[in-house]
């Protein structure tokens, strides 16, 4: 962990440095280089931030990523179209459904497959369930980084409920491989919808409890308000999407403004940050947007349960994906950590020619230096937690 470079302590100032010193500028670079990560409790996996610190004040940040690079794009070129799906889910392993959905929609668009209403509704349902599960981890680890342990465990209970539901549906708890090209792997088991409804009623009091325990806790607000303010300009320059973009007060949600998979049929309100406790776009806004998004997802889940149409979920699964039409397609969906864009190029064979995954977290990491300079180390920890990165998605 410790950096081998020595702290540079010059014996005496040279004349030009003396000049600077007399003007009140510190000429020595009397600063410490600090390696935060790759294995650091607050970097959510294996992110390395090289910091230059002046006391506790961070004056320079250089992020290094790639410690979890698993060559998704290379692997995707060497396996067939359906075989890519398990790999997509390993990008953002906290939201496998959302990852797979993006890829599957891309292939379906390429192959011109129209899925029926039941498939769309079920996809929305599982994606929203997974979004809640993902936000639970995001918020929980955020609280953990700020020093509050207990909310993490409470939120993991919620997540556990969701994972149980998804396990019953798909057979796995995290890497579902449930959404398939042209349909779904299984139809729902009997009584599953009722269990989802039960979960909704279970979930309802959890969010006020979280708000009491954490969101409006004075210490928590003090730690997050006015910290790591991301302006809309910065967000757009860095291609920030999803909850981080909405937290800056930018009212854009793909699910409402560019609906896919039938999201236009649901009534929900994208949540935007308003600077309630501080400045718009600060850490607290990024936090509360996620909390409120869970409530909105719950609304969507209820509606999806109510409108669950009849149909065959395997109806449109193509018999063979040997021959794909040539062409290219770019599909984005609203994943919990920003838009996941899949740029898929097909050369007509059974394997993709090129798959590029544009992940929200990648852009968020890139924006860390822009929003956290001049803060304290503790602020940096809060910021890294607030942009909610999953290194699997960053490095792919």
């Amino acid at each position: 962990m410790s950096e081998t470079k020595e702290i540079h302590i010059p014996l005496g100032p040279s004349p030009e440095k003396w000049d600077l010193l007399s003007k009140g500028i510190d000429p020595f670079g009397d600063q410490m280089i600090l390696q935060m990560g790759p294995q650091h409790p607050a970097t959510h996996g294996v992110l390395r931030l090289e910091l230059k610190t002046d006391g506790e004040v961070v004056t320079k940040i250089t992020p290094y990523i790639g410690y979890l690079h698993r060559c998704f794009e290379k692997v995707a070129e060497s396996v067939t179209y359906p075989q890519v799906i398990p790999y997509t889910e390993r990008m953002d392993y906290l939201a496998g459904m959302n990852m797979a959905l993006s890829y599957v929609l891309a292939v379906e668009k390429l192959r011109e497959i129209e899925v029926n209403d039941r498939v769309e509704t079920l996809r929305v349902l599982v994606c929203e369930l997974n979004r809640i599960a993902s936000h639970c981890v995001a918020i929980g680890t955020f609280a953990l980084d700020i020093g509050a342990w207990t909310p993490l465990l409470y939120l993991f209970q919620v997540r556990e409920h969701i994972l149980d539901l998804l396990e019953e549906l798909s057979g796995a708890r995290m890497l579902f491989n449930y959404i398939r090209i042209g349909g779904l792997a299984h139809d729902i088991p009997t009584g599953w919808i009722d269990k989802v409804r039960e979960f909704c009623t279970y979930m309802d009091p959890k969010i006020p409890e979280l708000n009491g325990l954490l969101s409006y806790n004075k210490i928590y607000i003090e730690r997050l308000a006015h910290v790591g303010v991301m302006s809309q300009d910065v967000a757009l320059q860095y291609g920030i999407t999803g909850p981080n973009l909405r937290a800056t007060g930018f009212d854009y949600d793909m699910r409402r403004d560019a609906p896919y998979s039938g999201y236009e049929k649901y009534d929900f309100q994208p949540q935007i940050g308003a600077g309630e406790q501080g400045t718009p776009g600060d850490c607290w806004d990024r936090y509360i947007v996620r909390v409120r998004e869970m409530e909105e997802s719950l609304k969507i889940i209820r509606q999806a349960c109510d409108r669950m149409p009849e149909g065959d979920v395997k109806e449109t699964i193509p018999k063979s994906l040997r021959k794909m039409p040539e062409g290219e397609v770019y599909v984005t969906t609203e994943a919990p950590r920003g838009e996941l864009g899949i740029y898929l190029v097909s050369d007509g064979t059974d394997k993709p020619y090129r798959v590029k995954a544009r992940s929200g977290a990648y852009c968020s990491v890139a924006a860390v230096p822009a929003i956290s300079l001049g803060g304290l180390i503790a602020d940096l920890v809060a910021i890294v937690a607030s942009i909610d990165i999953v290194l699997g998605e960053v490095d792919r």
Binding site: E56, L144, L153, Q157, L376
Partner: protein, 336 residues
Amino acid sequence: MIALEPYLDLIISVVYVVGIVLFLSLFALFATWLERKVAGHIQDRLGPMETGGWHGWLQPIADAIKLLIKEDIIPAAADKKLFKLAPYLVFIGSLAGFAVLPFAANLIGSDLNIGVYYVIAVTSLVVIGILMAGWASNNKWSMYGAMRSAAQMISYEIPVALSLLIPVMMAGTMSMVEIVDNQAGGFWNWYVFRTMPFSLIAFVIYFWASLAEVNRAPFDLPEAESELVAGYFTEYSGIRWAMFFLAEYGDMFVVSAIAATVFLGGWYAPFPFLDIIPGPIWFIGKTAFLVFVQMWLRWTLPRLRVDQLMYVCWKIFLPFSFANLLLVGLWVVLKG
């Protein structure tokens, strides 16, 4: 037969010291178990359940054995002498506080007439050990932890001392035993309730500031695991690490015991008729309750930032303690 008479004091002292060290170790072991149980149940978990049958009560012993037989790693670049010395210094600082804790009227290491003053002085020794550990580790995170710890502990000494002054002023003595004796006869005589609301405020300030003194959440910045990995004991392992751990829990006991002594009536029961239960049980019970509250707080609250920590100390606790002191002083004078 050798005349024991001249050595009796010495023998009693030695026995007492050995007893205190044993008590401290046992308490720290028990406290780690309690901490995990409290954390577990607050988080809807069970905590340790396996070792020893009933609710994993032997878990701390297993942990202690594990720590004892672990490899003691000293970093190559560390300042070896200081590195080895630091944990003992921290431990001694915590242990020395026990000398004046009145477990009962006659169960006290030494009834100094400046008992309160002694405790404040001696618990400050810990900061030297921590600073030493952070420096000697030659690790930047440790260094940060040590610096934070030094800043925090020295700042919080002041509200702690000012709050302790209030019962001292009311009792007119610094001797622990006398302070407790002044609170005899039911909980309404305890100093925490004597001059409502001033002494209550003093008690609250003391309790919170003492959390910072012992580096407990929400003031656990020196060992903030999400920021500084493990703060000043990042590089420690095995028995030396256990020393820090022991000292932390010992400190928790000491500060809680002082609160119990000067504010909560020490070894006296809340109602006079309950005084048939021996004093040490009341004393340890009150202390353990305060330790529990410390744990409860830890598993509830997020951590403050360095500047906010200083803000709380200098801008909230300090003015309130001063005002408190002034008003209580006035009260004492008026009462005559």
